[in-house]
Symmetry: C2
Subunit: 333 residues, 2 copies
C-alpha cells in the first residue's frame, strides 16, 4: 500500500507519452496528486502546480511517484539526485520501472537511513494465499479482452468512476503496474508465482457488502497464448458476477504474435462465460467496450452500433462515450 497523496515526478520526459503513467494518475485520481516535479528540459506537463520537494512536503505529499519511463533502462544520475533528495525530505518512493529501486544500493542506503520505503510495484510485496474458491459476499465485474492492451484498464477505471457517479458502491482493483500506481494498491499479477495467481485475486477482492462491486482490471486474453494462464487465473480468482468484453477493432493480429488472428467477440464471450461458470454459474456478460482510438467519430459511432446490434449488448467506447451505459447494465443485474 503506497501512501497518498503523491508528488508526480516527470523527470526529463522528452514528450507527454513518456509520462503516461503520471497522466493516468492525474486523470483518474486527481485527489491523489499534490503537484508535479519537472527537471530541466522536461517536455511533459500535467497542468498541475510545479513544486519543489519542500513545497510538496508542506502541501502534504507523502510519496514521490516516478510517473515517467526512463531511457536506456537505467536510473540516470540526474534522476538519482532528485530521488535521494526526496528520501531525505521524508518522501517514500514508488516506481513501476523495469529496473527496480531496490536494486540501487545508494537509494536503499538512504531510504534505510531516513526510515522511508521504496515501492517497486512490479514486484509483489505480499505472500498471497492459494485460492480456496469459496464464495465471497459482494459483487465483482471483470474486463476480458480479445487481446492484450485493448483498453481493459481504461475501461475498468471509467466503469468504476461511472458507478460511483451513480451512487453505486464500487472499488477499482488494479492488477497491473500503472493501475497500482494510480490507486496506491493492487496485485502485480504478471509477477506473481504461478501457484498463487488465483489466490492473489481472491486476496484483492475480499468479502464485502452485498451491494458493493469490485471492478477488476483484466490482463492478457484467453486467446493470447503467451499470457492466457494469467487471464484464466483472473476469472477463477475473481469469481466474477459480470464480464465486460474489451476489443480494439483495427488490430490485424494478436499483440506480439504475428501468426495469430484475433478471436471474434462471440468466441471470447462464450469461452469466458464457460470458464467463469466453473466458479460462478450466474456470471453474465453485461456489455462491450470498444477502443476506437484509431477511428474517426462517425466510424466509431457506426462500429459501436454495429457491435451492439450483433451482440445484443450495450456497446461503448468509454473514452468517447463514457461508461455510464455499462454501469447501468450492472445496476440492473
Amino acid at each position: 500500500m503506497i501512501e497518498t497523496p503523491y508528488l508526480l515526478f516527470l523527470g526529463d520526459a522528452p514528450d507527454g507519452l513518456a509520462a503516461k503513467v503520471a497522466q493516468g494518475i492525474r486523470d483518474w485520481r486527481p485527489e491523489n496528486c499534490v503537484g508535479q516535479l519537472r527537471m530541466e528540459g522536461c517536455k511533459a506537463d500535467l497542468k498541475l502546480e510545479d513544486m519543489t520537494l519542500e513545497q510538496a512536503k508542506a502541501a502534504g505529499a507523502k510519496t514521490l511517484v516516478i510517473g515517467v519511463a526512463n531511457r536506456g533502462g537505467k536510473i540516470s544520475q540526474a534522476w538519482k539526485k532528485v530521488l535521494v533528495a526526496a528520501l531525505e525530505e521524508g518522501f517514500d518512493l514508488a516506481s513501476g520501472l523495469h529496473n527496480l529501486l531496490r536494486d540501487e544500493p545508494d537509494l536503499v542506503a538512504v531510504a534505510e537511513a531516513c526510515g522511508r520505503s521504496l515501492h517497486d510495484v512490479r514486484v509483489p510485496e505480499v505472500e498471497y494465499p492459494i485460492a480456496d474458491g469459496r464464495k465471497r459476499a459482494g459483487k465483482r465485474v471483470l474486463a476480458v479482452g480479445t487481446d492484450c492492451s485493448v483498453g481493459k484498464m481504461y475501461t475498468t477505471l471509467a466503469l468504476d468512476a461511472a458507478m460511483r457517479a451513480r451512487g453505486m458502491k464500487s472499488t477499482f482493483r488494479a492488477t497491473g503496474q500503472t493501475g497500482i500506481l494510480i490507486t496506491g494498491d493492487g496485485v502485480p499479477l504478471d509477477a506473481v508465482v504461478a501457484d498463487f495467481m488465483a489466490g492473489s485475486i481472491e486476496w484483492l477482492t475480499p468479502e464485502n457488502d452485498p451491494d458493493h462491486w469490485d471492478v477488476i482490471e483484466g490482463q492478457g486474453s484467453l486467446y493470447h497464448v503467451s499470457f492466457s494462464g494469467v487471464s484464466l487465473a483472473l476469472i477463477h480468482g475473481g469469481q466474477p458476477d459480470a464480464l465486460v468484453l474489451c476489443h480494439e477493432p483495427t488490430r490485424t493480429h494478436m499483440r506480439g504474435l504475428p501468426d495469430y488472428g484475433l478471436p471474434a467477440l462471440e468466441a471470447v464471450r462464450d469461452l469466458s462465460l464457460q470458464l467463469a461458470h466453473v466458479c460462478n454459474p450466474d456470471c453474465r456478460v453485461v456489455g462491450v467496450s470498444i477502443n476506437t482510438q484509431h477511428m474517426g467519430d462517425a466510424e466509431a459511432e457506426r462500429y459501436c452500433r454495429e457491435i451492439e446490434d450483433r451482440m445484443g449488448l450495450p456497446t461503448v467506447d468509454p473514452f468517447r462515450h463514457g461508461a455510464d451505459r455499462l454501469a447501468a447494465a450492472l445496476a440492473e443485474l
Copy 2:
C-alpha cells in the same frame, strides 16, 4: 540440469511412503540409481544396494538426491551430517523439499568450498522467455486432468516408456518436482512467474525431429480454480498435437475444494480441445487414463470398459494395464 547417476538418500524415512520420490526415481529411471543410503532406523527400502558415500562415489554416482520427505519441515542435524559429508566427498545435492538447501548457510558454505552444486528443484534455475507461440517441429502430447493429483505424472512416464518400448522417439518432459528429480531436468511450473509460464513450456519442448514426441507432464486442471491458469499455460505453451485425459473415479470433490464437484470427462475433453485449437487446430484427444488404485481388479476393468464405450477412446489404467494402447493411438496419429 542435475548430474546423473544418483545415490538415493532415504534418511530416517518412517515408512515406504515417505520415500516415494526415491521410489519414483527407482521405478522410472533405474539406470540413474547407483544405490541407496539409509540412516539408522530407516524403514524404507528400494531394494537397491546399500552404499556408503565412498562406495557410491567409487561406483560413479554424481549427485545425492534427497528422495524422502522430512518431518516438521526442517532439515534435521542428523541429515545435515550426511549432506555435509556428501558435499565433501564430491557429490552435488538435489532436493525437492519445501525448505531449500540454499537457505541452509552451512550447506551453502561447504558447497562453495568444495565447488559443488545445490539443486532445489522447487525453484526455477533458468530465466524463461515469454512465449512466442511459433510452431515448432516435432510432436507433443500432454496429460490433462479432471482434477489435481489424478495420475498425470504416472501416466506420462508410463506413456513415454511404452512409446520407447515400441521404438518411437520420445522424451518425458517434467513440469513438477518429482518428475524433475526422476529425469534430472524439467520446469518447476508452479514456481514460475506468471508472465513466463507458457514460455517455460516452449523452452522445455523445443523444436525436434518431426517424428519425435515430447510427453509433457500435466499440472492441475482447467476446472481446478486454484491452479487452472497453470493448466492453460501448459496447453498454450506446449502446443500439443495430442491430449490424454486423466481421471480418478472415486473423488467426491475437487482436491482441496469441498464445494466443487468434478467435471465430466466429456467437459474436460471439449474445453481442453477448444483451448488447444487456439495454438494447434489439429490437436486431438487420443485416450483416457484412469487411476483405479481405489478399485478392485474387476471393478477397474469394468470401469475402464465403460469409459471406453462412452468416450470412444482407448481407456487404460497405466499401472494395471500398461500404457501401450495409448502409445499405439499416438503411433497412429
